[in-house]
């Protein structure tokens, strides 16, 4: 069953077209990530769902009910803000039970509900503290508990982890996902971090300039990016792109300056069409100069201990990710091997997958 449906949603800020004909259906109980660079409209889409932004055209429905004209408080969705938006003049308990109080729930009942939620999110000892007395991670938990206590139709997250340090972010990622599974909730999660989107979501929606570029399961997006933008955005470090031209019989050759190399891919494009060959850094392996398919000089290497990033001194520059430590230094000549099955081909004009 579809819990949230956007149909033909448009949003203008004056002349600026922020959301362009958004169609998106979200299954009940699924975890959906909206991801894209800043200014792509992902937050606007989320805020439109919450009712904090009025959409210019189209319809939004939640649990079968069209909510387009309803104010935020009648939509029964809970939101976790990037800034957490905790009420600074209220204790943790008052923060958690604010919505219950507004809805006229009795004091005893509120206290019980707060205690129950606090126990599951590890806030039991902090109920009488003020937000200013909490650490970043604790504030984050309060913000989530405030959403949980309401048992809403959907949880909306607006970049909730971006104010935390890296270690805590990885931890909270798992915690949010575990919480989602336990509650059986429907969650919409906005992030600019594709790793968060890939690791947490069942369904990833990649946006750019107010348009959904591609949506699907995380690994489908990784394996079959619909266009150059998605290919470059999903995966880290980003995919390498090499310009090439289609030859007789749909053959494609690439040339990094050491002679043309033919790829075993058949491209359904006219002869002479310009294309982009995409190969992920993790699909390139270093070999001895004669053994690989391509030959390149090493520009520089960066090692994190477990992985080594090697950049080549070619045009365009290629990035290679190797696990383990490699004894290559800048200036060394190396061979690059890859499997033709891992090669992506995009039209250079339309940037669509071929």
């Amino acid at each position: 069953m579809k819990q949230i449906v956007f149909s033909g949603v448009n949003k203008y800020y004056g002349a600026f077209h922020a959301l362009k004909d958004i169609d998106l259906a979200i299954d009940k109980g699924s975890f959906v990530a909206l991801v894209g660079p800043s200014g792509c409209g992902k937050s606007t889409l989320l805020r439109s769902l919450a009712g904090l932004e009025k959409i210019t055209g189209g319809d939004i429905s939640i649990a079968g009910e069209v909510v387009t004209a309803l104010p935020p408080r009648r939509r029964d969705v809970a939101m976790v803000f990037q800034s957490y938006a905790l009420y600074p003049h209220m204790t943790v308990e008052e923060n958690l039970t604010y919505s219950l109080k507004v809805h006229g729930v009795s004091k005893a009942e509120r206290k019980r509900a707060a205690g129950e939620v606090a126990a599951t999110t590890g806030l039991s000892g902090l109920l009488h503290r003020y937000p200013r007395e909490l650490s970043g991670g604790q504030r984050q938990r309060v913000a989530m508990s405030r959403a949980i206590i309401r048992n809403p139709k959907a949880f909306l997250f607006d970049e909730p982890l971006s104010n935390l340090d890296a270690a805590l972010r990885v931890h909270m990622r798992k915690e949010i996902r575990a919480l989602h599974d336990r509650l059986g909730a429907t969650s919409v999660y906005v992030t600019h971090d594709q790793i968060e989107a890939m690791t947490m979501a069942d369904h990833v929606v990649v946006m750019r300039a107010g348009v959904i570029e591609q949506q699907g399961r995380p690994l489908d997006l990784y394996d079959k990016p619909a266009n150059k933008f998605v290919a470059g955005f999903i995966g880290s470090p980003a995919m390498n792109f090499i310009p090439a031209t289609v030859e007789e019989g749909g053959r494609v050759t690439v040339d990094l300056g050491a002679g043309p190399v033919e790829l075993a891919v058949a491209v359904a494009a006219p002869v002479g069409a310009r294309v982009l060959i995409g190969i992920r850094p993790e699909h390139l392996t270093l070999t001895a100069p004669g053994d690989g398919r391509l030959v390149a000089a090493v520009a520089f290497t960066e090692s994190t201990g477990f992985t080594t990033f090697v950049s080549t001194a070619t045009t365009p520059e290629l990035m290679v990710v190797e696990t383990g430590r490699r004894a290559v230094a800048s200036g060394d000549r190396v061979g690059l091997a890859f499997d033709d099955a891992s090669v992506h081909v995009f039209d250079a004009e339309t940037e669509q997958r071929l």
Binding site: L52, F81, A85, Y87, R146
Partner: protein, 300 residues
Amino acid sequence: MRRLYSSLVDGRGFDLCLIGVPLAFLIVLSGLPLVYNVVMSFQAVDMFSLGSFIRPWVGFQNYRELVAQPEFWPIMGHTATFLAASIAGQFLLGFALALFFWLDFPGASWLRGLFLVSWVMPGLVVGAVWNWLLSGDFGVFNFVLRELHVISGNVFWRSDPTFALWSVIIANIWLGTSFNMILLSVGLSSIPADLYEAAELDGAGALTRFWTITLPMMRSTIGALISLGLIFTLQQFDLFAAITSGGPNNASNVAQYWAWDLSFKQYDFAKGAAISVIMIAVVMLASVYYVRSTRHEVRG
């Protein structure tokens, strides 16, 4: 010697110098007159002993005589009415205007700036303008009230004992509203917008948001404003001088005007000083509250 020099150039000595200059200024121009005033309120002062600092010590004699005067309690009552009505009027109107301009319609900031004009004007000028507005026979104020059918005959605002104090209060509210509005506007704009969004999603309507978010978040601003208002209102002298001169028959006389009247019209400096000391005590309490409010700012 060398250490003293380096301390003066960059160190503790430099800090002390920075504090010392304004402190000396305050002591000479505010502290000493204040102490002089307090001392004088316990002495017998007449025209002949005005020039000397050593005068007969009379203890609380001046205060006792002051309280025994028949006009003392009425004047204290007027002062309390003036304070309460002025502060309430300025605050409520100021808050209403601040909320209005917070809606951020086109031109809101311009209009808000124009409102400050009233606060920039000298009290005596404001008094003169309100003299015309409140004038009994040709005043605009009466005209408006008559056209609105609030009154049937002319009200002689400044000479009718029932209304004299209120005529000054009305002028004072007009004078102080914009200052209240500006400070409250600043307080309103410092409340993060996402708190309202969170409250809205939590199910709170506009009124609930006002009572549970706006007012509590404005607590320190409001506390500071009320205590500042108390201090400014107790200082309000010009309007009395310009509009009613405390009359008729003390009907609009207040402590600050009475102190001036006693000291500089009746040359009873000791009693004038005694009233000032009473007012200093009130202002001190307000100042303590003001400092505490600004220290208790709640910010996420």
